[in-house]
């Protein structure tokens, strides 16, 4: 009897070395925060930074083998490693931004903050490498719960609390759908292992169109769709992005999106590859609506954080175009886009974080008037980020859209590509408005920027350099992304 057999799982700790490093760092940071007397310095931030850097190098030097470990719970393939790299970059830049942001919001300069941040990153990494639906769920919750708490970290600010509460309530709601979906899929296929589900559906074509499975797929789409801010599950995004501390918003907008897309790609391509044809139509419509709603509503926003929230919905739409297209080119394009998006979005939020002050933040668009001349360097990098988001060469945003739309055209989704391009044109309006405000509007009030510390300068330089590097020499990154499309089937 199968059920009585107890298999001792083989434990390959080297496969999760980056995650282990992150976990140890998180705990160390937490304890340091509790026991250290010095509460104002950036020491904790730098400690976490070191941990992430170490984890990053562990990812980079972990070789190129493709193995599954822990009885198939984890798959260590090049795809997972690429996601881990994105997560490390995101965490790195977020920490650098946070080190500066502590001047505005002293609350975040604590062990708990960095500990949660690192645990969230840990969850993201596991989402990229999860080989089992249960693992996906555990990783997703590890990430999400940390972020719920992070969103409400400015306890004295009402908006922050509101943001955390909304995110938590709706997130829990969506997680329910996801879990229910997993259960239905398990019911239909008899396994939670992603690879085995794929094989089972291959061998049993009749199951593919069973109500049990398709219901599960629908509910899973809801759960993942919520995390990536897919229409119509996107409603939480502007409220949460606006309320959360800016450093956390940056982290959410980039890291969560990358991790959720990673899980989405793995589950839907590997486990549900047989359903690809059936999903296409609805995902086509969703991709189009997500892009359009994001871009159109972004135009009407006067708050820059809300605007970027809608912009992040629109970017999810572009990524979904790649998802619909499918195939190696599309996956590499999405990976490229996720990395580029991380650079430009973190950079933009980094600039916003620089302008904040203790009693409330300067997040209205009109606050940016004239800043391009007052702070030329800041204006320049912000312009680079905005150009990149709008998809203007020579930036990562342009090349990313180019690869994704090319993939769409190659797979025969020409109209979707056309709508994507039209959407990019619409988006230029509100991205360029930021630049116009910075350079061509007279300032209404005297806005004083925080004195930038080395950390934030480093973050902005890395982000801007990343955006330009990926735009000017895209092949170097794309080649890595291309080699990262091998998923364990």
């Amino acid at each position: 009897m199968d059920m009585l057999e107890f298999v001792v799982p083989e434990l390959d700790f080297r496969a999760i070395l980056p995650q282990i490093i992150l976990a140890i760092t998180a705990l160390t940071v937490l304890l340091t925060g509790v026991f250290s007397r010095e509460k104002k310095g950036p020491a904790i931030g730098f400690l976490s930074l070191a941990g992430v850097a170490l984890s990053f190098s562990a990812v980079v030097f972990s070789g190129s083998q493709t193995v599954s470990s822990f009885s198939g719970m984890l798959t260590n393939d090049s795809f997972a490693r690429f996601i881990s790299m994105i997560v490390c970059v995101v965490a790195l830049l977020t920490i650098l931004i946070s080190i500066n942001y502590r001047k505005i919001s002293p609350a975040i300069n604590s062990g708990e903050y960095y500990c949660l941040l690192l645990f969230a990153a840990l969850g993201m990494m596991f989402m990229g490498s999860a080989g089992n639906l249960l693992m996906v769920f555990v990783a997703l919750e590890t990430m999400s719960i940390s972020i719920y708490a992070l969103a409400g970290f400015q306890k004295q600010r009402e908006k922050s609390i509101e943001s955390a509460l909304k995110y938590f309530l709706l997130g829990a709601f969506a997680s329910g759908f996801l879990l229910y979906g997993f259960a239905l899929v398990y019911g239909a296929t008899g396994t939670m292992d992603i690879v085995k589900i794929g094989r089972f559906l291959n061998d049993h074509p009749l199951v593919v169109h069973s109500p049990l499975l398709l219901g599960g797929v629908a509910l899973m789409t809801v759960g993942f769709g919520f995390k990536v801010a897919m229409f119509p599950f996107h409603m939480w995004t502007p409220d949460v992005y606006e309320g959360a501390p800016t450093s956390v918003t940056a982290f959410m907008a980039t890291g969560v999106k990358a991790a959720a897309f990673a899980a989405l790609i793995r589950v839907f391509y590997v486990a549900l590859g047989s359903l690809q044809v059936d999903m296409t139509q609805i995902m086509w419509v969703i991709a189009l609506l997500t892009m359009t709603v994001g871009n159109v509503v972004a135009i009407a926003q006067s708050n820059i954080k809300r605007m970027l929230a809608y912009s992040s919905i629109a970017h999810a739409g572009y990524l979904l175009v790649g998802f619909v297209a499918g195939g190696e080119l599309a996956i590499s394009g999405m990976l490229f886009y996720l990395l580029g998006y991380a650079f430009m979005n973190l950079g933009a939020f980094g600039v916003i974080a620089l302008l904040a002050k203790k009693d409330g933040e300067y997040t209205e668009l009109s606050d940016f008037a004239g800043l391009g001349f007052k702070y030329p360097a800041m204006g320049l990098v912000m312009a680079v980020f905005m150009f990149s988001m709008a998809g203007i060469p020579p930036t990562a945003g342009f090349m990313g859209k180019f690869y994704i739309f090319t993939a769409a055209i190659n797979s025969g989704f020409i109209w979707l590509a056309i709508f994507g391009v039209i959407n990019s044109v619409i988006s230029i309006y509100y991205y360029l408005r930021v630049i116009v405000t910075m350079y061509f509007k007279e300032p209404e009030q005297d806005i004083v920027m925080l004195t930038p510390t080395g950390a934030i300068i480093l973050a902005l330089v890395i982000a801007a350099a990343g955006v330009l590097f990926m735009g000017i020499l895209p092949s170097s990154v794309l080649d890595i992304a291309r080699n990262s499309t091998t998923l364990i089937m």
Partner: protein, 667 residues
Amino acid sequence: MFDYVWLIPVFPAIGVLINGFLGKRIEKFNKSIVHWVACGAVGLSFLVTCIIFFQMLGLEPEHRFYEFTCFNWISGGVLQTYVAYQIDPLSMLMCMFVTGVGFLIHVYSIGYMAHDEGRYYRFFTYLNLFMFSMINLILANNFLLMFLGWEGVGMCSYLLIGFWFSEEANAVAGKKAFITNRVGDFFFIVGMLVLFCGLGEHGVWSFQFSRVFPNVHLLSPNTVTLVCLLFFAGCTAKSAQIPLYIWLPDAMAGPTPVSALIHAATMVTSGVYMVARSNILYSLSPFAMGVVAVVGALTALFAASIGLAQNDIKKVLAYSTVSQLGYMFLGLGVGAYAAGMFHVLTHSFFKALLFMGAGSVIHAMSGEQDMRLMGGLRKKTPITFITMFIATLAIAGIPGLSGFFSKDEILWQAYSSPHGHFLLWLTGAVAAGMTAFYMFRLIFMTFYNENRAPEDVQHHIHESPKAMTVPLMVLAVLSVIGGYLGVPHALGGSNRFHKFLDPVMGMGPDKIFQKAAGGSLHHVAEGSHVAAHHPSLFMEYLLMAVSVAIALIGIYIAYVMYVKKRDLPEKLAEKFRLLHRMLFNKWYVDELYTLVIIRPFHGISNFFWKIIDVIMIDGMVNGVARVVGWGSSVLRLIQSGYVQCYAVSIIFGTVALLVYYFLKIAG
């Protein structure tokens, strides 16, 4: 073995970074560091080029080809493009004189720009950026990288023409150059894409020279002709040929070292280089070659005729440059690629020298450029006079100097090559006479007779500093001896220059036909080859003598008109009033373009602006804005901030997904 070739472009790039980002501070601290960095960068590039050049000379001619890939630049679908450099006789030849002459002009600029406070660093940054782009253009092993350089030099040209942009005329000249070049660039891009797609149909998806050229025989003759003509249209802008030459004379608004470097010696010859590089392509299209030759010959004559009546010293040289570029294209068009390149080389020596000499004169005259207000500078600026005189002899085609050998070879080929024609020779010879005339007119008006400048200017007349005169002397020497690289067989030489370029131009017209047609045409081609290249030695001597005689006549007329009987020019101008006014006003080409192209263009733009843009597009945009406004007011109702509403939205979405999937099962 040439793996360090990437150093050549990297040095100027480093110069750009240092001076571009820190130049302002460095200049405040110590001005000389700025030019040490800039000149040092180009000097090092020259040094590396020399090492590679001589290393290459040590190889057997058939082994003088090497490609070095730096990195993968763009990859998408079938397109793989690398940043990669190609070393062969042609690219190294260009690189030698571009970095060499470029270095001399950098040094010269130290003296010329010394009084430009606060913008000194910017000037040298632009110059280095230009060198970087130009080197990329030359060394590129594919069309795309070449195009990057092509655009880069265009941009630097724009920046430097308008360097003193506070005066509107300079800014306008910069814009004119830029816009005219955009027209040409457009054709170049289209040509590149036609070539790329045309070869792609035969399975060769590449921009790389070493993959494109061996396969061009796969293309249909019409495609080849189309590509050649599109490329040449690109050249007419960059290398200032009819009809797009109009920007070059205006480009003289830039500082004189810029005119010498960009608008005489290097950038404007890049069109010639491109055609020479694509010689295999052109050899397959006799029609395109004919177009190149005719346009070249006409430009040579036309520009020379305008040069006859100009009074601005730099304008004369500008039209002279246009005219000389015409010669080069004439050479290319009759299949004498090596002769064309030879003239590029010698021209870069004597024309850079002429411009720098003119700069020295202008410097001495406190900025005056009108030759009517000069004169008698022979004594006060002896070095400038002697060096410029040598260059003038060279450009006039006096035997023994560099210009003679290269120009004469082109003229001889224009007559004798299978693609040549007597009329082409005649046009070139007449233009040569005009060249001799206007160049000596320039010398006589500037250096002879009495000085006609106002009192206060006369006091300041002085010889230029060493930084300026030393480069002049170096170039003077080169202008004399440069020609001995390619002494023709008729004069007892062995034409080493030709042999040197043979591996690149090896696919000359005859050989390519052999290859394309297989054995059947072999003997015919061989026969015509023999017949074409040796009509008679006597004829070669005769034509040589005639062209020298024409040049001497030109010089004599100039002497009579501007030294002996100095009232003659005015009398002639009275008598041939119409002709003089036509020449003086440059055949009214600018006015014609304004009437035929610019005005209608403005008209169309106005139409687009007032009807299409204001009414239709603005209407649409405003309409969209209204719809969006309405949409967002509706969406705002949903985006109420209430979590319940958001949850309802999720429910709706879930229901929609479930309905969709269950319909799938049903359907």
